[in-house]
Amino acid sequence: MKRRKWNGKHLISIAICAILVMSLAACSTGGTTGSANPTSSGSTSGSTSATTTPAAYTYSGSAPIADEPVTLSILTTNSGSKILGFADMAWWQEVLTRANVTLEMEEIDSSSYADVVKPRLAAAVDLPDIVKIPGADDDMSYIKSGIFVELTDYYDTYGYNFAKQFDEHTMLKGSITTPDGKIFYTPYIYTTANNSRCLMINKGFVDAVGMQLGEIKTIDDFYNFLTAVGQNDANGNGDAADEVALFSRSGMIQLWSMFWGLDVTGTFQREPDGKVICGYADERYREMLVFLNKLFNEKLLYSEFATANYDTQTALFTNNQIASLIHFVSNCTSYSQAIDPNWDFYNDEPIMQPVVPLTGPHGDQYVYGRDSMGSLFGITRYCEDPESAFKFIDYLMSDEVGELTWYGIEGTDYEIVDGEIQFKEVYLKSEDSYRSKMGYNFDGLPSYQLGGGYMATQCKFVRDMSNDVLSKYVMNPSITFSYKLEEENEVIRSYLADLRTNFSENLTAFIMGTRSLDTWDAYIADLEKMNLDKVLDVYQAISDRQAASK
């Protein structure tokens, strides 16, 4: 047999082959989780947890949840922990210490969370103990798939703190209960009365154009203010054209509907007579569009309102270009600080000031509240100790955790003086994003917003305005989230996605003028052809059920 002679060519071919195989092996493991940034507190991430069965210990709503350490794993967003990892959030680590829990966290950037997690849930393999679900599982597909454990009995047995939360937020329990009376999720709970979305105006611009804030009471007064801003160099930088009279960014222009008594952000609302309407098809919505179209044509509404993002907003505030916008009242302080870093939190009035709501053309005077139900978290079937997982989540709803994660640690961040909380400078000044680093407003765990906590970081003016004035005008959504029947989901799945495309597209087109408001009738006719009436029937039924259950 002729012996093959190995020469350089053969060796090179084999080497190239080996390199290709190795590079493919490396490539094929990448990119599966997009921007996932798995982090852990002391153990390898992504593994299913090994939990210990707690010894005979009766949890009664306070820490610890068990006398033996409990390890749990969670898949959630990294919102709030982008500056510092969760493992370094001292306030939350104190919560875990008191609860006797070790948490293995897998965090994914909130901007891509839904895109990454939805396929994982669809595959339903290798999930951690607790998962923050993307969206609200409107059609109960995750519930029906059996990914998540039913929690109804746990709520009855261990829901000590949940019971108090449900007393305060009366619609909440109904929202997370399925039509057959079961509960599968635990919510993150928003404060509703203390952090409304209101109109805020740049006091410096008001002074510069020779007006008084108290004069701006109606839509017409506000228009006069915007016009004055558009004609003057209100920020005094020598450029009379750089002011943005009314700023809005992508997805926020709909908030203006509150001055016409509408809740367009929720799409559907229940009127006082019990009838459910679609805000996008209402005559009052057309009036709002006429107003906004006028502002856009006169260059008083930010020209890129449909595409601007948070970074654009930040840049404009830093350059003191924004005269007015609608946003959460809790942002007034941070916006004022962005405009003028030398602004005195303790002594100066805020530069961006919340105002008494404008009176709309029909006499409506509202600020926009919200549905108290935030993100939902489920305990997966992979969890070996769901009972401990639920106890931990219930503990996160306690007053102790609320104070710890919103006020900080007593002695370090605040002191109790004559029964009142007095915050220390390190907390109030929050230099170098101190509060965020500690875990303030972190919604990656199923907990809640402490109303007092939100307002604690505001200057006195904003705090008083929110608590004493704006709270009287809050309009919360009249139709909150609730699970639907299968036939209702079928209708929504068939028609709502296309309707929403139509709504957002035409909202922008009408405001910009690329579609004339003279074609309003044709717009309504299109909505009818797209079966809006069938979707309205579904929401009427949902709203009637909610009204009956109150």
């Binding site: 084999i14 190239i16 082959c17 290709l20 839904a114 992508s250 296309d498 922008t508 087109a509 052809k529």
Partner: protein, 315 residues
């Protein structure tokens, strides 16, 4: 790619001939094997998931469970008011890319091969490749910065020249121009590599003979260069035609907004809103399958036409 010819394996000797070829080219096949396995595992086996286009897929139960619904999702798509629009936008954007973008690398390759100074040629070539390596996100960021109505450089120039600022990013009429124009700018250099390689393979003696015969440079291009790289052009044309229903999702998604849905909403972004945002996985899969079938039909037709007219085809 193959050129049409009349050779064929003798009957009865096929298996022996095949073994001979495998043995002769075993190292080439060895290099090819990892890719073959990769495509089998990550492209062909996952195709079984297409079954959910005909089912009422419920997450968590697996792709083989769920009720069969036949063509329900296809019917729902074609009944949607946006079916025609998304198909139209997809085809138009691809067509513009084909009509305006396809000739540019060829022209660039022809021009660059006329540069006599090798150093300068290399600099120009390298500079032309560089935009290809910019990621889509950065590319769109640059686009936004250049074309924004507030302080965008393009609008600043327009204003300085006495014109009025144009809101490029929210005007539907400008979307396709921006999309196709930026794609051409980003990719023409890299795409020209293959044409440069093909032109380099042309016998210089042909050009010398043409020069002796007094043929002008332009005629040399039309009568020598283009015909001799025609097979390369045809193959790439067929491949591009096969992507006519596949406008890249990422760039459209980053560039579009509700203001420009009229011209920017393509099949892939519609699938995203339905499949990911609304969790209608079965519906999105059905549209994707439809999209792929149309692409395949285009590739097949183009391949047949090319084989019939130029004797060049992919298979």
């Amino acid at each position: 790619m193959r050129q049409a010819d009349s050779s064929s394996l003798p009957r009865g000797h096929t298996r022996k001939r095949l073994l001979e070829i495998l043995n002769r080219d075993k190292y080439l096949y060895a290099m090819f094997l990892p890719f073959f396995i990769y495509y089998i595992i990550f492209s062909y086996i996952p195709m079984t998931g297409l079954v959910i286009a005909f089912k009422d897929f419920k997450p968590g139960f697996g792709i083989y469970h769920g009720d069969w619904v036949g063509l329900k999702w296809f019917v729902q798509f074609f009944n949607s008011p946006y079916a025609v629009r998304t198909i139209r936008n997809t085809v138009l954007i691809s067509l513009y890319d084909l009509v305006f973008g396809f000739p540019v690398p060829i022209l660039f390759a022809v021009c660059i091969m006329e540069i006599r100074h090798m150093g300068y040629r290399r600099i120009v070539q390298t500079a032309s490749y560089l935009p290809h390596f910019i990621s889509t996100v950065v590319m769109v960021g640059i686009l936004v910065n250049f074309f924004t109505i507030n302080n965008g450089i393009v609008n600043n120039i327009i204003e300085k020249l006495g014109g009025e600022r144009i809101n490029f990013l929210i005007n539907p009429r400008w979307f396709r121009t921006l999309y196709v124009g930026s794609s051409i700018w980003q990719n023409f250099g890299f795409s020209s590599i293959i044409y440069i390689a093909a032109i380099t393979g042309i016998d210089p003696g042909l050009y010398e003979a043409a020069k002796i015969d007094g043929i002008t440079k332009l005629k040399q291009v039309f009568y020598i260069t283009i015909p001799l790289i025609a097979s390369t052009i045809m193959v790439l044309f067929i491949l591009q035609l096969g992507r006519i229903m596949s406008v890249g999702f990422e760039k459209v998604f980053l560039m579009y907004s509700s203001a420009v849905y009229e011209t920017a909403d393509v099949i892939s972004t519609y699938i995203y809103r339905q499949g990911i945002e609304s969790s209608n996985y079965s519906f999105a899969t059905a549209i994707g399958l439809f999209n792929s079938l149309i692409n395949f039909a285009f590739v097949y037709a183009a391949n047949r036409i090319s084989r019939a007219t130029t004797q060049t085809s992919l298979w």
